[in-house]
Amino acid sequence: MPAKREYDAPGIILAAIFILIAGIFLNDSRTLVDSDSYVFPAAICTLMIGLSIGFIVWNLLKPHPDKEATPVMGSTPRRIGLVALMLVSAFIMPYVGFLPAGIGVFATLMVLAMFEPWTLKRALTYALVCVAIVTGFYVIFDIVFLVPLPEMPF
C-alpha cells in the first residue's frame, strides 16, 4: 500500500517558531549602532527566515509520504523528573554547597533511574556508591583542578 501523504505539522510549527526567533533577533539588531555587530547575525536571521518559510511553503504545497514518527518509548514522568532534578541541582548548589546538594540530587537520580526492586543490601551499596562518586568528583574538580565549586554555607 502506498504511504499516506501528510503535512509535517510539528516541523511546520517548529519552523514558525524559528521564524519568530529570527524575527526577534532581527528586530533587536536595530538597537545596534555598529554595523560590525549586526551584519553577520542579520544575515543568519534572514537566511533562517528564508529557509523556514521555504520549508513551510514546500510542505504545504507538496506533503511528504507519512513517515512513522518515532514513538516515545518509556516513562515520560521519569524524563521530566530527570530534567527537573538537574535544574534543581543547578539552582540549589550555590546556596547549599556542592557536596550536600550533589549527594541529595545524585541519590534522587539513582531512585529515578532504578527499575529493579530495592533491597536493604542494594540500598546500602548504592548509598555508598553515591557518596563515593560525588566525593570523587569533588576531589578531582575542587582539589586537583582548583575549580571553585560552591561551598557549604556553614
Binding site: M86, L112, A113
Partner: protein
C-alpha cells in the same frame, strides 16, 4: 648532539615515565566532558617549572595528545564529546556503540589517533619552518571559508532533512551571537538579561545538545543503552588494524588535513575533525552509511584531531603564534623557562630542546597505543556493565560539573540543561543536534572572518573580490562545492546507472 642522541635522550627512563604518566592523565581528563586539554595543561604547568625545558615540553605534549584522544571515549560511549575535537567522532562512533561495536570503535579511535599523532609529529620534525608560512597566508576571509567548509557538513548530518539541518545550523550560529559581539565588542541580543551577557558557551551547549537527550531516553526505559555482545572479543585490534589498512588513504589524508588545520592559529581540533570527516565522507564508496556507524568516519575524525597536536606546535615553535588553545598555555610555559620561540629554535643552540621534544612526542604518541587500548577497554566495560541507576546520575553529574568548570558559572549549567531538553524535542521532529552543534562551534570563526573580510573589502572598495578572488579562498570554495554537491551528483549517476546495468544483465 646528533639525531640518535635526541632519540636516546627521549627514550630515557625518566622521559618515558613522564610521557606515560602524561598520556594516561591526559586520556582520563580528556574523557571527562568539560575538562579540556587546555585546562589539563594549565593545571599541570607549575609542575614543569622545575623540569628541564625538553622534559617539560614532553610532559605537556603527552598530556595534550592523551587528552585529545581521551575525548573519543565519551563521544563513542555516551554521545558526548569529552573535548570539542571529538565532535565528529560522535557521528559514527555512537551509532557503532549502539549496535554493539563500541569496543571496535574505541580501538579504531586509538589506532587512528596514534597514526594521526605520528604524522603530525612527522610534519613538525621535517617541515616545520616552511609549513609555518601557510599560517601567515591565511587571512580572515580564508578562515571564514574554512568555517563554511565545516558547515557544509550539515548536508551530511541532516539525516534526510537537509532544510531542517540548515535551519538547525542557523539556529546554532544565532545562539553564538548572544552576548559580546566578536569584533566590535557590543553587547547584543541579551534582552536585558545579565546572565546572557557572557553568551552561550559553545562547549557547554554541545554537552547539553548531545548528552541530555541521551540521558532523557536512558532514564525512561530499563533497556541497556548500548548493545552488548555475549562473547568476549578482546580489544578487536586485528580487526581495527585490518580496517586501518583498508582505509589507509583516508587515514593519511585525514592526518594531513589535521596537521594543516592545526597549523592555522585558532582553528583547532574540532574543525580538523569536521573537515577530515567531510572529506572522508565525500570520497568514500560508502557515503550513504556515514552517520549510521561507519568506521571510516571515526578513523577520519580521530586521526585528524590528533594530527593537530604536531601541526599546532609548528606555528607555536617557529613563529611564536599558538596554533591551538593548549599551545598558548605551552607557549606561556616556555616563556617562563626562558625559551625564545622562532625559526632559530630549530638551528641555534637550543635546537636540542626542540628535537628531544619532537622525539618525545613520537614516544608519547606510541605509548598512547597500549595506554589508550587498556583504558579504552575498561571504559567500555564499565559503561556497558554499570547499572543504569548508577550510570544515569554519574553522567548527569558529569555534565553538570563539567559545564560548571568551564567558566565557574552555574547559569551555563541551566542553559546547558534547557538546551538539552529543547534539543531532545527538536530531534524528535527531525531537527538533528549535529547541525546545531556545527553552527555553535564554527559561528565565531565564521563571524570574525566574515566581519573582518567585509570591513577590509569595504575599505578596498570591492567586497566581492575580497571574498571570491583570493587564490586560497577559491580553493576552499571549490572544496565546499564538491563537498556539498558531489554526494547528490554521485547518487544521481548511481540511479541512472542502475537501470542501465539491469538492462545489460
Amino acid at each position: 648532539m646528533h639525531g640518535i642522541d635526541y632519540v636516546l635522550e627521549a627514550i630515557s627512563f625518566y622521559h618515558i615515565s613522564i610521557a606515560l604518566a602524561g598520556v594516561a592523565a591526559g586520556t582520563v581528563i580528556g574523557a571527562l566532558p568539560g575538562l579540556t586539554a587546555t585546562m589539563a595543561i594549565a593545571v599541570l604547568v607549575p609542575l614543569t617549572f622545575s623540569m628541564k625545558p625538553a622534559s617539560a615540553l614532553i610532559l605537556m605534549g603527552a598530556i595534550y595528545t592523551g587528552a585529545i584522544y581521551g575525548g573519543a571515549y565519551s563521544a563513542i560511549l555516551l554521545k558526548t564529546p569529552g573535548t570539542p575535537s571529538a565532535i565528529a567522532t560522535t557521528f559514527d562512533g555512537y551509532p557503532m556503540a549502539k549496535r554493539g561495536d563500541g569496543d571496535l570503535a574505541v580501538t579504531l579511535a586509538c589506532t587512528s589517533s596514534v597514526l594521526g599523532g605520528l604524522i603530525g609529529a612527522g610534519f613538525l620534525l621535517g617541515l616545520a619552518p616552511p609549513l609555518a608560512k601557510i599560517a601567515l597566508a591565511f587571512g580572515p576571509v580564508e578562515y571564514f571559508w574554512l568555517a563554511i567548509f565545516g558547515l557544509s557538513l550539515i548536508s551530511a548530518l541532516s539525516e534526510g532533512h537537509m532544510v531542517k539541518g540548515l535551519i538547525g545550523g542557523c539556529f546554532g550560529m544565532l545562539l553564538t551571537t548572544i552576548g559580546v559581539a566578536e569584533v566590535s565588542a557590543d553587547i547584543r541580543y541579551t534582552f536585558g538579561s545579565q546572565t546572557l551577557i557572557g553568551g552561550i558557551e559553545p562547549v557547554s551547549a554541545l554537552i547539553g545538545l548531545y548528552c541530555i537527550p541521551v540521558l532523557i531516553d536512558l532514564v525512561a526505559t530499563p533497556a541497556r543503552h548500548l548493545k552488548v555482545s555475549s562473547e568476549s572479543r578482546g580489544f578487536r585490534l586485528r580487526e581495527a588494524l585490518a580496517l586501518s589498512w583498508r582505509h589507509k588513504f583516508n587515514l593519511i589524508r585525514s592526518s594531513v588535513i589535521g596537521t594543516i588545520v592545526g597549523i592555522l592559529p585558532g582553528a583547532g581540533g574540532s574543525i580538523a575533525g569536521l573537515v577530515a570527516y567531510s572529506e572522508a565522507r565525500r570520497s568514500s564508496r560508502r557515503t550513504d552509511y556515514f552517520g549510521t556507524g561507519e568506521p571510516e568516519g571515526v578513523m577520519a575524525s580521530e586521526s585528524a584531531n590528533n594530527a593537530t597536536v604536531g601541526g599546532g606546535f609548528i606555528p607555536t615553535l617557529v613563529l611564536g603564534i599558538p596554533g591551538t588553545p593548549p599551545d598558548a598555555v605551552i607557549l606561556g610555559a616556555l616563556l617562563v623557562q626562558g625559551i625564545r620561540t622562532g625559526p632559530n629554535l630549530f638551528v641555534g643552540d637550543e635546537s636540542s630542546i626542540v628535537y628531544v621534544f619532537i622525539a618525545g612526542l613520537f614516544v608519547a604518541t606510541l605509548l598512547m597505543l597500549p595506554t589508550g587500548l587498556l583504558i579504552g577497554r575498561y571504559a567500555y566495560r564499565f559503561i556497558i556493565n554499570v547499572p543504569k541507576a548508577v550510570l544515569v546520575p554519574t553522567v548527569a553529574f558529569m555534565t553538570i560539573i563539567g559545564t560548571y568548570a568551564i567558566r565557574n558559572n552555574m547559569s551555563d549549567v541551566v542553559i546547558m540543561i534547557l538546551l538539552g531538553a529543547i534539543g531532545w524535542i527538536l530531534d524528535r521532529y527531525g531537527f538533528k543536534p549535529s547541525p546545531i552543534v556545527l553552527g555553535l562551534i564554527l559561528s565565531r570563526i565564521a563571524e570574525q572572518g566574515f566581519v573582518q573580510g567585509w570591513t577590509i573589502g569595504k575599505a578596498r572598495g570591492n567586497v566581492v573580490a575580497e571574498f571570491f578572488a583570493r587564490p586560497i579562498s577559491l580553493g576552499i570554495i571549490a572544496f565546499i562545492c564538491v563537498s556539498m554537491f558531489y554526494p547528490i551528483i554521485a547518487r544521481r549517476w548511481k540511479l541512472k546507472e542502475e537501470p542501465q546495468n539491469a538492462r545489460e544483465t
